[in-house]
Amino acid sequence: MMTCGRARRLLWPDTGPQEATTEIVAAREHVSQCEQCRRFLEDMRRLSERIRNAVPRPEAPVDVRDRLFKAIARARTDDAVRGATRKYRRWVVGAAAALFAGGAWLGLSLSRERSMSSGDAIGAIAEDHLRSLRSGGLRSSDSLEVARWLADRLPFTIEVPIFPEAKLDGARLLLVNGQAGAVVEYTIAGRSLAYYVLPAPHGDRGAKPREVRLASRAGYRIAAWDDAGLTHALVAGLPERKLIELAHYCMQQMMAAVAPWARGTPSAFILLAGGAVGSSLPGVGSDVS
């Protein structure tokens, strides 16, 4: 005889299609005639749904992300050092001595080259994003006020994008490789979203205009693209698809904002007065990296 308890045990939990054994068929038959069992199965579904909808979903705090990715970086370094030590111990000692004389010069040249590469700009953006979460700037949800604030401080104009579902929080300045840039900050679905605009690195001709490059650093996703001599980037802990969608949305607004006569002209976003700017810009000092 099929009891309520047995029928419920057989049909809950729902583990997908079940083999129609005699007992399962009997349990289904029981439930079709038992209002209490139908209520039970419906209650389980409702409870699950209510828990899923009501429960808060906190993001991993910035400090936790920071420490976690530093731990990975340490582990990477340790692995590399151990690998080198095991395989090439003698060679490394000899090579180190041989390279000692020219090492300083070589290191200097390489680090300078690296700092100009697109990959490093992405790293700098990620680092700055982490720092920014603890620093100030202009706090305003008025896009016009934010645009004016940035225009007073930057050698190029930027459009302040308005994203659906996102709340504008404000803006601040940053300095990467001696160049001033802007960061516009938003909140979207309870998460921070930052829009970076900074002069594109000199000599970086690898990227096509408006080609979105994706990366993730330090627990954040970055969608970056170059346009009109500027590097644009969106940084957030959002899913990749959402970030790409926002990047395209942002580009559309930028293109729509350009006057028809200037469309397609690379320098359309840059004021003629623009140029490389150092740390003498007002408000830049606190963000100098």
Partner: protein
């Protein structure tokens, strides 16, 4: 998206050749928040413990990333490592046996299922702003084994079979824990509705 991107002359590419370490960071970024929340559940809301657990998990995953052959399985792979790392930590404190001994066997589970008192009708459930807080508090009050199962299944959407594999316990144990967890959480979920009914009758 592709058509639109093509039309506007915008293209998409990934940066660099994505060596293993970078690929791992990308996978981790994708699942970091979910892992953090799951670690919080396993540590009953203690953030410092959750961070320790998460760090151990991530370093183990990083060391074994080469073993992950199917990138689409990364999520359950990471959750499995999280769960096993937690079990190892708990075993060293000797609390594991105590928790398992409270699981219901099949006849006891059937009896408990049969005794279920139906929920109030949906119209009587009143949503409140405090519901999330109540639920979090109630989850923190559950044994870690119960709250992690309800989190894994109801919030993260894993099947009970998947959770059984990840946590290294029989499916019946997962079912028993899930039922007990939901039975306890319903109190937290119903309390606002009860309060609202009291207000209406005053």
């Amino acid at each position: 998206m592709t058509a639109r991107a093509g039309r506007e002359g915008q293209t998409l590419k990934r940066i660099g050749s994505r060596p293993a370490a970078r690929a791992f960071e990308e996978v981790l970024t994708e699942h970091l928040d979910a892992l953090f929340r799951a670690a919080l559940r396993l540590c009953q809301g203690h953030e410092a413990d959750a961070e320790d657990l998460l760090q151990d998990t991530v370093l183990r995953a990083f060391a074994n990333y080469g073993q992950l052959r199917e990138p689409s399985a990364a999520r359950s792979w990471l959750f499995t490592i999280l769960s096993r790392t937690h079990l190892n930590r708990v075993r060293t404190t000797g609390r594991r046996a105590e928790m398992v001994s409270t699981d219901l066997d099949d006849p006891a589970l059937e009896a408990a299922l049969a005794e279920w008192a139906p929920l109030p009708s949906p119209a009587e459930n009143v949503e409140t702003r405090e519901l999330g807080e109540r639920l979090t508090k109630a989850l923190d009050g559950l044994a870690a084994e119960l709250s992690s199962v309800v989190w894994w299944v109801d919030v993260e959407g894993f099947t009970q079979r998947e959770v059984a594999t990840m946590q290294g316990v029989p499916e019946g144990t997962v079912a028993s824990r899930l039922f007990r967890a939901r039975r306890q959480l319903r109190t937290a979920l119903e309390a606002p509705a009860r309060d609202a009914r009291l207000w209406r009758h005053q």
